[in-house]
Amino acid sequence: REGCGGGGMASCRRLSGAGLREVLGPAQGLLFDCDGVLWAGDRAVPGAPELLERLRRSGKAALFVSNNSRRSVAELERRFSRLGFRGVRAEHVFSSALCSALFLRQRLLAGGGDGGNGSGGGRVFVLGGEGLRGEVRDAGLRLAGEGEPAAGAAEPVRAVLVGYDDQFTFAKLAQACGYLRDPQCLLVATDPDPWHPLSDGQRTPGTGSLTAAVETASGRKALVVGKPNTYMFDCIVERFGVDPSRTLMVGDRLETDILFGKNCGLSTILTLTGVSRLEEAQAYMASDSAAAKDLVPNYYVDSIADLIPGLDE
């Protein structure tokens, strides 16, 4: 029987029948990735809203952890509702936009840095859309404007935050590099995703590709907030006190969701309605590399709707 989280390689077993009840029964809660798990584009995965409803009736918690840095958690709450998911509130949703803002608040405002200059931690230059910028403002931080000169009387920029930015330009890249010449200026990225699927099978570039440009120009490595790094789990634990040994991570991307689960000591379930194919998980399992083994999920399902029979009526 698979253990929860660490120790030994996962074996990517299909979760069904009795196994389903054995795994879901003891679980206190599930963490779900969103894109490719709950919905694809603007359509809910069939059965996903019912699964969440059944989890609620079984007394199991459902929390959401997403690398997508486009939307504020308030927008995500509305999206859940619009796509037919009931009872999901903003406080249940941990997006990389929110968690990046929390991270920056911790680093820039909470008594660290050059405290005493009275200027409240400095400004943040955000490469990203309005959803991300709003989360940073809501965390009490001030934003640097685009096109400002690097030097001058304005309050110093203490962090560059790279997120999903479909308005990314060479000029913004150059502006970011100007700020990063100060070694005290942090370089933070919301997530490492190289691309995201579009509904017709094409792909759109992700934050990871923009971060690579900024890292190359500045000679710095970014601190990445999102999965597979564990900071978002720290945020979840701080707010909800989750026990990793009784929590399952459900995701569609091996390199982010499943590795995140492994890193946080969670058992992992891969769902096949999103990015990663079963063959990829099996290839990682067959690989000699130790790093590859960490990308193998404990279990997989074709869709999260397949989890419903594992819950009490």
């Binding site: 060479f170 691309w195 570039p205 190359t216």
Partner: protein
């Protein structure tokens, strides 16, 4: 061609030119997410039938006064990361340009000197191609940097060390006959 609509979902619907067989990334001060999107679309459509080529990997272009702007290498890295594949790089330190010179001018590497100011492009290419390498100190490199590589145990760093250096290429004049 102009892209329809304001968002990536719209850009992904713009018609692709059926004749495109390569994506070439060079220095582009008008680089944008939209262009990155289109590059990715061509590379995915073509697979191994669509080349991905970068002119060079320079991280920064130094400007007067000590500042710098992002180099082509940043844009190449963005495309490589999105497409999850490696570009073929034309510029130094890769040897393609040297091969071009050789094919036109019948160069004997043993009797040719490469003169440059950057260790990780000029000198590395020269050393890799069997040329004698000469560093000039009128550009980005200091002698301290060279010493650091020279004293390191790392073979990769050793290949950044030039055979010779001069303060300026003007210092070569006395060696040339009247």
């Amino acid at each position: 061609a102009a892209l329809p609509g304001p968002s990536p979902a719209d850009w992904a619907q713009a018609p692709l030119d059926p004749a495109v067989r390569a994506v070439l990334v060079g220095f582009d001060e008008h680089f944008s997410y939209a262009k990155l999107c289109q590059a990715l679309r061509y590379l995915l459509r073509g697979g191994s039938d669509c080349l991905l080529v970068g002119t060079n990997r320079d991280h920064r272009l130094p400007l007067e006064g000590g500042t710098a702007i992002p180099g082509t290498g940043c844009l190449v890295k963005a495309v490589e990361t999105a497409a999850q594949r490696e570009a073929f790089i034309i510029g130094k330190p890769n040897r393609y340009m040297f091969d071009c010179v050789v094919s036109e001018f019948n160069i004997d590497p043993a009797r040719t000197i490469m003169v440059g100011d950057r260790l990780d492009t000029d000198i590395l290419m020269g050393n890799s191609c069997g040329l004698t390498t000469l560093l000039t100190l009128t550009g980005v490199t200091t002698l301290d940097e060279v010493k650091g590589h020279q004293e390191s145990d790392c073979p990769a760093r050793q290949s950044l060390v030039p055979d010779y250096y001069v303060d300026s290429i003007a210092d070569l004049l006395p060696a040339l006959g009247d």
